[in-house]
């Protein structure tokens, strides 16, 4: 293998400080072909390199010049026909050498940096520029309002959509909440009325394939060409079913109905609600007694107890995760007595009571004696903003949910008093009008977070401090509603594990960049939207679903390159080796790893401002800090590095082994804060 080294004088910028002639001599004596030029970045310069490659039969090229951030791409592209882009490396001997060090020091550093890239390129392999032809099909995991929105949007873009839903019907939580708060009308709108039409659209759309009773089981392949495995549980009813309902009437089994949070009963063969999609009944096989009465009455013969679990493999180009949320189990806050006191409910149970298709057909009645409550107390922040429970975050929607229900109750059941015990009322934007309206309707707000609920003679006592008056009070109530928060659903944590996605505090899926790429995940081709990535209301979920659909479509129609900018393990080892080879006896070399996007640019800025720092700092560029492994750190120290510095930006976290903690340091880097970085370089001993 023959390697050519090209040294750029940069019109004196480099040559005036560094004696390039010496460098040429040293590397020629090692058997490398070396050429010097005044301006390698000129047309004449490119042609010179191309000629030398051809004439000398060079396999690999190292160019020592200005920062790779400036001309690196151009060198690789222009010379692509002569040398594979991955076999061409740029050494920064200007911004990070000639411009920041004294002459004698700069020379030695330049030699070691060039040696680093030489050793690296020795181990480089040609980059195969394979273009990926993605499958023009998307899997949407989760059929709630986010999944439905994303699916319809993608289908309208002309993409085939596979919608995977674990329940027997799509719709998610929106089907149970009864009414939604509307940002522009101080009145409540029917949730199902808005959702049912788009649910039907899903069922009837030719480009959307619905997999009900299905879960994501596994994934193979890579971006653009995933092989996704779905497990589909048997419904025991084929799509011959016309929804006549005869089977339901004869089924002898009665079990709690999930859509009504167990407050009503359903049969073992059932449809969750009239607008359920798919519009066919399901058999709950665990409750079924196999009496087969349903088989007798079904005239179409749609019931089939021989249906089996299916494993379905799909070829997918991109994935949208829309797995929604899980309601916080308010039973966990023992001092509020949910589960012990029958008249303590959570907001979802209240929603079912207020719903016209709920257990009380919309009448506000207590569970204990079926009479209307005189005074209803709502308690905010249950399971949220609570370090003891473990959910430190605010669940965002509970204040609005409480106001929605409070306003509704005051308007329709004026004999019932409503009190809200709050820590802060979080009604952002125009939702402030709701708060105002609630006050007009006579809802009483007491500022204080309820301490406990006890029962005395069948009256519930809410004990708290009214912090605005400073009094310890006991509020008598006959119905208490807990505003429980939102947690990551089991589907979310499953999807995160199977797809290998990062998770946030609370186990929600982490987006790639919360400001600029809020629906991307850290895996290309996989997007996330809705409550799978954090608490939010329906509006924001729909917005994110549309965004995710757009990003997925971009991904499928844009060019996808399989190769990455990653350095292979051996290449990085080589670069470390090459640099450390030239360590002088008394020299304390400090290796600094900086990432391409931020840290390296910051270091270049120091050079652009010509600020001096010690020359024993040797910088190595990596695509991201996560490229560096523990082995690389130990190798570098073993080769004689005195200290290692890792530049971390944004919220990058690294785990440094205990025994290396005093030799491997980290420092946060920001592109404009180059003066601070220079100070770090100076003080690092």
């Amino acid at each position: 293998m023959s390697i050519g080294i090209f040294l750029c004088e940069c019109g004196g910028n480099i040559a005036d400080v560094i004696d390039l002639g010496q460098i040429k001599k040293i590397f020629e004596s090692e058997g490398f072909f070396v050429k010097t030029d005044e301006h390698l970045c000129s047309d004449q310069g490119y042609r010179l390199i191309e000629e030398c490659i051809r004439e000398q039969g060079l396999d690999k090229v190292v160019i020592a010049a200005c920062s790779p951030m400036i001309h690196g791409r151009r060198f690789q592209d222009v010379l692509a026909s002569a040398v594979n882009p991955n076999l061409l490396q740029i050494v920064n001997i200007r911004e990070q050498c000639a411009w920041v060090h004294r002459s004698d020091e700069a020379l030695y550093k330049a030699i070691s940096l060039i040696s680093g890239k030489v050793e690296r390129v020795k181990r480089s392999l040609p980059r195969t520029h394979e273009k990926v032809e993605p499958y023009k099909e998307v899997a949407v995991i989760g059929g709630g309002v986010s999944g439905i929105t994303a699916s319809l949007s993608l289908a309208k873009h002309g993409v085939k959509v596979h919608l995977v839903e674990q329940k027997t019907t799509i719709g998610g939580h929106t089907v149970s909440i009864g009414k939604v708060f509307s940002p522009d009308k101080i009145a409540v709108e029917c949730a199902l009325c808005s959702l049912a039409p788009i649910m039907s659209e899903i069922y009837n759309h030719p480009s959307i394939e619905l997999y009900d009773l299905s879960r994501l089981k596994g994934i193979k392949g890579s971006k653009g060409r995933f092989e996704v495995e779905i497990e589909r549980l048997p419904r025991y009813v084929t799509d011959k079913c016309i929804g006549c309902g005869r089977c339901r009437y004869v089924c002898p089994v009665h079990v709690p109905d999930e859509c009504n949070i167990g407050m009503k009963l359903r049969r073992a063969i059932y449809t969750p609600f009239p607008q359920a999609i798919p519009p066919i009944v399901t058999v709950d096989i665990d409750s079924c007694t196999k009496c087969e009465k349903c088989l007798d009455v079904c005239e179409i013969g749609a019931i089939d107890f021989n249906m089996q679990k299916e494993l379905i493999k799909l070829k997918i180009g991109a994935i949208v995760v829309a797995t929604g949320f899980k309601r916080f189990d308010t039973n966990r806050v023992k001092e509020y007595g949910h589960g012990r006191f029958i008249d303590v409910l959570d907001q979802m149970e209240l929603a079912r009571i207020l719903a016209v298709n709920g257990p009380t057909e919309g009448r506000l009645l207590k569970s204990s004696d079926q009479k209307p409550p005189q005074r209803l107390v709502m308690i905010q922040c249950v399971g949220s903003r609570d370090e003891k429970i473990g959910n430190r975050y605010c669940s965002k929607i509970c204040c609005m949910i409480a106001l929605k229900h409070a306003c509704f109750i005051r308007e329709h059941f004026p004999e019932t008093e409503v009190l809200i015990s709050y820590t802060d009322m979080r009604t952002t934007g125009f939702f402030e009008d709701y708060y105002r309206n609630a006050q007009d309707l006579g809802v009483l707000f007491i500022r204080g977070r309820a301490s406990e609920i006890v029962e005395d003679d069948n009256i519930l006592l809410v004990r708290m401090e009214d912090t605005l008056t400073g009094e310890q009070i006991e509020i008598e109530s006959d119905m208490v509603v807990l505003s429980g928060g939102i947690e990551a659903s089991d589907g979310t944590t499953e999807a995160a594990e199977i797809l290998g996605l990062s998770q946030t505090e609370g186990s929600f899926i982490k987006e790639e960049n919360p400001k600029l790429r809020p629906v991307d995940t850290d895996k290309e081709g996989i997007y996330v939207c809705g409550c799978a990535k954090g608490p939010k209301d329906i509006t924001d979920s729909v917005i994110e679903a549309n965004a995710a659909s757009s990003r997925a479509f971009e991904f499928l129609t844009d060019e996808i390159k399989l190769d990455t900018n990653d350095i292979r393990y051996e290449e990085l080892i080589g670069e470390i080796n090459g640099i450390m080879q030239w360590k002088r006896e008394s020299e304390d070399v400090i290796l600094v790893f900086l990432d391409e996007q931020v840290g390296y640019r910051c270091a270049d800025n120091i050079g652009a401002k010509r600020l001096e720092y010690p020359a024993n700092i040797r910088i190595i560029m990596v695509p991201t800090i996560r490229t560096i492994t523990e082995k690389h750190l130990r190798y570098a120290l073993h080769k004689g590095a005195k200290l290692i510095l890792l530049g971390l930006h944004n919220s990058t976290e690294v785990e440094i082994p205990e025994d290396l903690k005093n030799k491997v340091l980290t420092y946060p880097v920001y592109t404009p804060y180059f003066k601070r970085l220079k100070e770090v370089f100076e003080k690092i001993e």
Binding site: K334, E335, K388, E452, V454, E455, D456
Partner: protein
């Protein structure tokens, strides 16, 4: 825990006011063959004074550093306390000193062995209705370590009582402190009386035959103030209060004298007669 040797940490309140109750734990351990070590050199943990605010933190640390080394010198595997405040104080000190010694409460050991105890009972609490009160310093300070029930609703004593055959009643003020109040007990006792009254009133409503506690402070407060409250307010309570160790010892066959029934301010003789048949 049963193969280990426990360093038994004695309580100041029991030593001063209910000395026989301290011995009851040893009686129970002897019956179960649980090994223990009684160290005459073990000092108070300073817990009562510490929470009253009259021992600086540093003194509490040093005094208990000594107690830990005594436990280790005695070759014991862990420390088992008779008192909830000792439990919390020793745990707090252990965390600050980074000491690895384990600290348990005596009722934890009894709970773990409740099936074995049930097999050896000479009398049971069949037909006895009781209420439990868990020490605040047991359940609320190191709440993450509450394994039976939840910190807001501990079930340790409830399960022990159930295994002894009793019927356990719920009452409104289950989570309320007994009112001992540390420095309040030593000085003016207004706090103690008001809180104990609130607690006892709530218990009285469900008409229990017995109040079961596992902390000497709660034993003292709920036992001692009943007569005083009766005198000051005219309201009668007369509910026997017993510590889990003396109750277990009694049911395993110990006599009223052995458990020190006479030291109780609120008489427990009639209850004992009922139990012993």
């Amino acid at each position: 825990m049963s193969e280990k040797r426990h360093y038994l940490f004695k309580s100041c309140v029991l030593g001063a006011y209910y000395p026989k109750v301290e011995e009851c734990l040893r009686i129970v351990f002897d019956r179960l063959g649980i090994r223990y070590f009684d160290d005459p050199n073990q000092s108070s943990c300073t817990g009562h004074g510490y929470h009253s605010g009259i021992y600086p933190f540093k003194s509490t640390l040093e005094v208990n550093r000594r107690n830990f080394s005594l436990a280790r010198d005695a070759g014991c595997d862990d420390i088992v306390t008779s008192c909830a405040t000792s439990y919390a104080t020793l745990k707090e000190v252990k965390n600050f000193l980074g000491d690895s010694i384990e600290v348990f409460h005596g009722s934890d050991v009894i709970h773990k062995n409740r099936d074995r105890i049930r097999g050896r009972l000479e009398h049971s609490l069949e037909g006895v209705r009781l209420v439990t009160h868990h020490g605040c310093h047991y359940a609320k300070i190191f709440y993450k370590d509450v394994k039976v029930g939840a910190p807001e609703h501990p079930m340790l004593l409830d399960e022990i009582a159930a295994s002894l055959g009793a019927e356990v009643l719920e009452y409104k003020e289950r989570g309320l402190c007994c009112g001992m109040g540390f420095r309040h007990l030593l000085l003016d006792q207004e706090y103690c009386k008001k809180i104990a009254e609130r607690k006892l009133t709530s218990m009285k409503k469900v008409k229990p035959d017995l109040i079961l506690v596992h902390c000497p402070g709660c034993l003292l407060t709920l036992d001692y103030f009943q007569a005083i409250l009766e005198k000051e307010t005219g309201v009668e309570f007369k509910i026997p209060v017993m510590h889990y160790a003396e109750l277990t010892a009694l049911l395993l066959g110990a006599s009223p004298t052995e458990i020190g029934a006479a030291a109780h301010h609120t008489k427990i003789d009639r209850l004992i007669e009922r139990i012993k048949g």
